[in-house]
Amino acid sequence: MEEIEHPFDAYIFASLGVVIFLFNMLGLLYEGNIRDLMVYVIYAVAQVMSLVFGAFLIQSYNSRGA
């Protein structure tokens, strides 16, 4: 069974998205634009959860093959 490596290039790019999310969240909160804010929150949570659980799944996949 082949191993899987962590895609650190994609991790770095995705972390930029989290920064943009935090930056825009302040603007949306200031404007009181809750609908757009919730869309940002859903995307940001999905992104962070995919990163974290994906990293755990890679560890799990590699440890199973070891």
Binding site: E2, E3, I4, P7, D9, A10, G17, I20, V39, Y61
Partner: protein, 175 residues
Amino acid sequence: MYAKKFVLGFLASFSGLSLISFIVSYFSRSFAQTMPVIGNNPLLFHSLVVAPSEELMFRFFLPLLFMVFFGIDYILGGIVSAVFFGLAHFWAYQQNNAAMLTAVIAGGWQALIVYLFSDREDSFTFKPGLLCAILGHGVYNSLVTLAPELLLPAAIASASAFAGLYLLDVGRENL
């Protein structure tokens, strides 16, 4: 090697997504669309929030989940998660079946990009295939949102650039 795969993968991802969208919309009269949301900066939203989020969910997390729990290959997991990618666009595409079919085909195409343009010699690395898919998706979403009239010329230009670079590379290897 990384740079070559990165450029080719990005061009293939963007031009493929655009051409899939045009081909399906030609037959079904539905047209590519992105969410009509947007906050204060649609370009940053679509390229740095939507694209990484969707690609990490459907080209990274879900295929890995299928690989770990069902022991299947990445490419099969990617195709199964492309179906979920289509279903996830149910509300965004207002229950338009043809538009959802576009999303399923585009999801399969993106999974293929991740698989083909990732380094697979010693171990499967997702590099740089996943980043190519994220950037291709981001540029596609941004163009559809901000300047849809530029989508076809940009897709043709990037498909031509892909073909030119690929042929140059093949020619150089054969010398």
